[in-house]
């Protein structure tokens, strides 16, 4: 256990976690998401017998929204800040490889995202406690997949930040996230398109890149059954995506000059 605690990768991860914990931007974003969930209580009041569904739907959407913001913010800034402020110089002088630094940074982001999702989940359950007498455990698979999707987005952002500026990285990451979220609609358009190139492109994109598969919100909110494959296939897919993005980021990061 001590070996793990003292391993350079985990020391970098722990430091990245501490760094994020001191970020005012993340505190404000968290407050905003918390207010959004609170606001859903009032929105539920004006809907017809849909109180709980509205609160859960907005609650899950808030966790996802806050998480995606944090994943992109940390993903594009964490490495960049170290390069820009040159804190990376003293780290590079230590017996630690560039790949270990990048993996450590990513693990730190994963810790932050995990902490955020756990806190927001507890908060959502506290809010729903006003409406229900029992705890709705069926939300957990949806929350698990939200967390998985956040890790994918974070890996994607780290990938872009390994070769471009924070602004461009954020732009690319947000763009790729949105494409992933509408990939099924894109495929539907493609199926109906007469343009053969667009048809194969749109359906092809959906086959390899589909962030919609992480979205179980509608299923759990409407209390529909969640089958094992609905959860485990996206988890496996998520790990593959993370592996892919971290692997390429590592190769780019290992070769570049830190000016």
């Amino acid at each position: 256990m001590n070996f793990i605690h003292r391993h350079p990768v985990f020391m970098i991860a722990h430091n990245a976690y501490l760094e994020a914990r001191h970020s005012k931007v993340l505190h404000i974003a968290g407050l905003f998401a918390a207010l959004l969930i609170l606001f859903s209580l009032f929105l539920g009041e004006v809907s017809l017998f849909q109180n709980e569904k509205i609160v859960k739907d907005i609650g899950l959407a808030s966790i996802s929204l806050l998480g995606v913001f944090i994943a992109i913010y940390l993903g594009v800034n964490s490495l960049y800040q170290d390069l820009e402020k040159r804190t990376i110089y003293t780290i590079m002088a230590k017996p630690i490889g560039r790949r270990e630094v990048l993996i450590g940074k990513f693990l730190g982001m994963a810790f932050v995202l995990f902490a955020v999702v756990v806190m927001m989940t507890v908060y959502l359950y506290l809010v729903t406690a006003f409406l229900e007498s029992s705890i709705d455990w069926s939300l957990l698979p949806a929350i698990g997949l939200i967390f998985m999707e956040l890790l994918v987005v974070a890996a994607m952002s780290v990938f872009f930040s390994s070769f471009s500026s924070p602004f461009l990285s954020a732009f690319f990451s947000a763009g790729l996230f949105l494409i992933g979220r509408v990939s099924r609609e894109l495929a539907d358009f493609g199926e109906r398109s007469k343009n053969i190139v667009f048809k194969y492109f749109a359906t092809g994109v959906q086959k390899v890149y589909d962030l919609d598969s992480f979205d179980l919100r509608a299923v759990v909110v409407h209390k529909l059954p969640v089958y094992a494959e609905d959860f485990w296939y996206p988890v496996l897919y998520g790990f593959l995506m993370i592996f892919f993005f971290v692997l390429i980021s590592n190769e780019l990061f290992a070769r570049r000059d830190f000016k």
Binding site: M11, Y89, I91, A93, P95, G97, D257
Partner: protein, 320 residues
């Protein structure tokens, strides 16, 4: 034993992908020996930091090689023996001095017990005793420089590389850093540091390398670089009569005259031998004394490192 061996090191940079390549380091070769203090001199933009960055694989060379302790610079065993303080360091300001040193010591593979003993020790060594619990965000530039120095030596490295370590320090702080370098040297450590503060180099370095616009202009011991010969003579004459004043104006010298005294600076000619220069000065002094003028002082001036630096750097047309 050779500690650092830099061989034909070159680095080309491109500002943007559409701009042409610019050579910032041009076939630089030098070596640093064990237990010496080596000064790496050069004006801003000379390529000092670029060389140091290559030694830590922060950037990669375009051509040439660099070895430390006989191994490639990226080797983890080698890195474990080096301490490094970058130029204008910025550290994680949300950490306290102890947390910061624990983090860096931990990355060096130091265990908890050793760090517990070593952290107060190094803080005292850099004159930061009592700041253990203070956060880095509350530190002044000079304090950051000192705590940066502490992280560079926390693991008791054999080689310490410091990039402009005197930057941001007041005269007292500079003196303390100089003393610390001498203390480390006395313990057998090798110190390689870049600077453009020549007095620091002159007072503590064994050998220096002078770099300008990416080219190595010279490398050697201070004795080798600085000529021991007299380069000029300063004289102050009291109550000079008009005959002597006329004589003084006829020879090639810088003069500052007042009714009561005459200051003269006579420089040795570029091709003038030491014996000829001595003879010329002797003759002039005897002449003055015979004319009844009182010689208040006569000071032979040798070349300083600053003279060497200005002479060498001045060879190239412009500075960046």
């Amino acid at each position: 034993m050779t500690v650092i061996e830099v061989n034909e090191l070159s680095k080309d940079y491109r500002q943007h992908f559409w701009t042409p390549l610019r050579r910032v380091l041009d076939r630089v070769t030098f070596s640093v020996q064990e237990s010496e203090i080596f000064g790496f001199l050069g004006p801003n933009g000379a390529g000092k930091s670029t060389t140091i960055k290559i030694l830590f694989e922060i950037i990669f060379p375009t051509s040439g090689s660099a070895k430390i302790f006989g191994k490639d610079v990226g080797d983890k065993d080698v890195k474990a023996k080096i301490g490094f303080l970058p130029e204008n360091p910025y550290f994680y300001d949300y950490l306290s001095a102890t947390q910061f040193l624990n983090f860096h010591g931990g990355l060096m593979g130091m265990d908890h017990q050793t760090l517990k003993r070593r952290v107060p020790e190094v803080l005292e060594l850099v004159g930061m005793k009592g700041t253990e619990r203070m956060y880095l965000r509350s530190f002044s530039k000079g304090m950051l420089q000192r705590v940066g120095l502490a992280q560079a030596i926390i693991h008791d490295p054999d080689l310490i590389i410091l990039d402009e370590p005197m930057t941001g320090l007041d005269p007292l702080g500079r003196r303390e850093v100089r003393d610390l370098m001498l203390h480390l040297k006395s313990k057998g450590k090798t110190i390689f540091f870049s600077t453009h503060i020549l007095s620091d180099v002159e007072s503590i370095c064994h050998r220096v390398a002078i770099l300008n616009k990416g080219k190595l202009l010279s490398c050697g011991s201070l004795d080798e670089l600085i000529s021991v010969d007299v380069k000029s003579v300063d004289m102050v004459w009291l109550q000079p009569n008009s005959e002597f004043r006329e004589r003084a104006q006829r020879i090639d010298a810088n003069l500052i005259a007042s009714p009561e005294s005459l200051f003269m600076k006579i420089e040795r000619g570029i091709s003038e031998s030491k014996a000829d220069f001595d003879f010329r000065i002797q003759g002039f002094v005897q002449d003055g004394l015979q004319k009844g003028v009182k010689l208040q002082s006569l000071s032979p001036r040798k070349e300083s490192l600053e003279d060497v630096f200005v002479r060498q750097v001045g060879r190239l047309e412009t500075r960046v």
